[in-house]
Amino acid sequence: MKKWCAFLCGGLILGLLQGLLAPKYTGLTQEGGLIREYYQNAGGNDVIFIGDCEVYENFSPITLWQEYGITSYIRGSPQQTIWQSYYLMEETFRYETPKVMVFNVLSMKYDSPESTGSQSRREAYNRMTLDGMRWSSCKWKAVNASLTREERRWGGALTYLFPLLRYHDRWSELTAEDVRYLFHFQPVSHCGYLMRTGVEPMTEALISAPMTDAELGQTSWEYLDKMVRLCREHGTQLVLVKSPGLYPVWWWEWDRQVTEYAREQELLYVNMLPAQEEIGIDWMTDTYDGGLHLNVSGAEKASAWFGKILQEQCGLPDHRREETVSALWEARCRAYEAAKAEGR
């Protein structure tokens, strides 16, 4: 009995330590907290956006609601890869069956964790996407698909099961925030949209290395195939989108291949890059980081334009006359407007 008590106490203390040492993503890197916020908002969404920063920075579900009465949520995270997007999609279907699943195709440029560039950064992004997921077979599969070589060498998936093994050395960086958010977290998004109100105009064209491989990788196509099958199984329409981000470059060769694929699979593919003028994006006022991502004004313009397509081509209903739904969304709108006014 004594022994079991000791084991229980030990387990509890280790659990507490793990909670304390895990990063809280409340400061500058709020992106790491986006994925975990979904579970409190799951259910009742007609549209789920899945993808990288080009979804959580460039689309605003609140605008979709305000303009078209579309209920939506964004499951985005930094440099989210297509294999992560797929497993997030699979997981989403465990919580709800949206009418439309929107996937941003930019991440198809990456074909393996190694091809995404800096591996230490890749590991940090893996954490930001995967640590926030609740434990399920989807998370296990997502973790195993995502591990970098360095992560595999050091315990791999086990360090996701016990994040203490990863964050054990954060004891020297602990702040009051770590204690404050030990048992709960501070939501940072508006239905998955991370609001940026600042303006930093794009004063010069961003230099980009030329395209070296015209073909999108095999792994990307395999996961896209899986997405198509998964959405069909659930009777959900899969919409492919390329949000209006200029950098990293989305090459026309890649665009041609996705267009061809969408035609074959009878999917809707919307490349927003050629429609920038129609959308009304002004890179002097609609970006907060010199042209890499849109700020709130840009995201609202992009959402208003894309919402119209969703409404017209996907036949999404307008929920604004439904009282309960409306009450929930109006509350969200108020929080959104307040944040916008505060410049957060």
């Binding site: 000791a6 030990g10 280790l14 590991e123 050091w154 315990g155 054990h168 050395d169």
Partner: protein, 496 residues
Amino acid sequence: MTVQSPWFPLFTAALLVIYYRVPGQWQWRVLLTGSGCFYLWAGKAYLGFLLLTLVSTYLAARQMGDGQGREDRKKRRPWLILCLTVNASALMLCKSCLLPGAKELLAGSRVEFLTLGLPLGISFYTLQTMGYLIDVYRGTVEPERNFGKFSLFAAWFPQLIQGPVSGFSQLGPQLTAAHPYDGQRLSFGAQRVLWGYFKKLVIADRLAPAVTALRQEQTVGGGFLVLTILYAVQLYGDFTGGVDIALGVSECFGIRLPENFRQPFFAKNTAQYWRRWHMTLGTWMKTYVFYPVSVSAPVRRLSRWARARLGGFGKRVGVYLATGVTWLATGVWHGLTPNFLVWGMLNCLVIVLSQELTPLYRRFHSRFGWKDKPWYGVFEGIRMFLLMNLIRACDLYADPREYFHRLLSLFSVPLWRQPVPALGLTGADWGILALGIGAMLLVSLLQQRAGSLRQLLWRGNPWLRYGLTFLLLVAVLLFGRYGVGYEGTNFIYSQF
């Protein structure tokens, strides 16, 4: 999977669950399967080497122990020589690939991969199987007729990385015997494993960047002295930590491996030090190199000749020659670079000199009477620690000239004039190291005075035992230097 990987404790725990669930006669098969899995997981590229050792030794031992060889020692000899040659060649081939320039020599050939380092634990299992083979040749052990049981003895996974080196008569029967569950033994084993991880991950690996920094710089004088001390602590933590893990894991399965260390830094002379540091290697060398050389016909002839002509010293020539050969073999076993030969010879020189100067010491002590004073014991300990550190530092430089240059710098310039370069450790690192090394020292002192600490704790309040074990676990988890973002270090002795 490495021992430092979090999968290792999990793997061991899973194996333990199966081990204590199957009937006694099946337990050794579980251990064999586990060892196989570990090897496949840890270094399957080198499986060929393991198989070479296993199959050749097994066949040679059978040939020697059965049939005609059983009666006639002469008929056994070719098998012994052939098998020893095959295994020693494989070992030497691997080691020679670590020589500078060997990489270029082998570039483009099929064995280029060897430059990556030694196959997992080859030095240790080769030594162990060679010992077994010689025992069979001498007729002191019966050859194992079951290939599975023999393989388990040669490749028992906890000792695969860096020993300890066990004898067949001691380890073989234990591995194949039935071991019913014993909570106390399991608890002792787990505590020892934790202590091993503490020494490896918290102390040795935290010190590693400082040792690397000092090695890379042209460190001389005071900096070199600091390096020898830090390297001593690092190597102690690393090697004894790794062996504690091996012994602890084995203990969990009910298997007692031979002890490899007994507070070596408390030794007061070289002979004592070598009876306390890497004891199983010392025993192996004594049994299979020193004794056979001592009693060999040429050495006996030389001894007779020397005794007749050189008087008192002549009596000891044979022993010194055997000592020299033993240290040469020990040096070569550590590595084929010249520094290891120098290292072996330096050790031999110190031992021979201490032996020769014994009458002088005796006269000195009878005159001053300091021998029994407590402070003199401390002085002897510190003297030995510093001396062994200076000799050990030879490991660090493949070219002995570099080593001697640094060694001489200790005497050519005042130590305080030589700046110690930046060690790359933070204040927190030093704090952890101070506490960790303090704990290590305290435990060694208590062990020296009171014997097994685990026994003491077992007899005391269980909550104290739980608390201390848990504290150790937390210290390893929090202060260990492991995981993504850290340049992990392999066990130092796994490369020898």
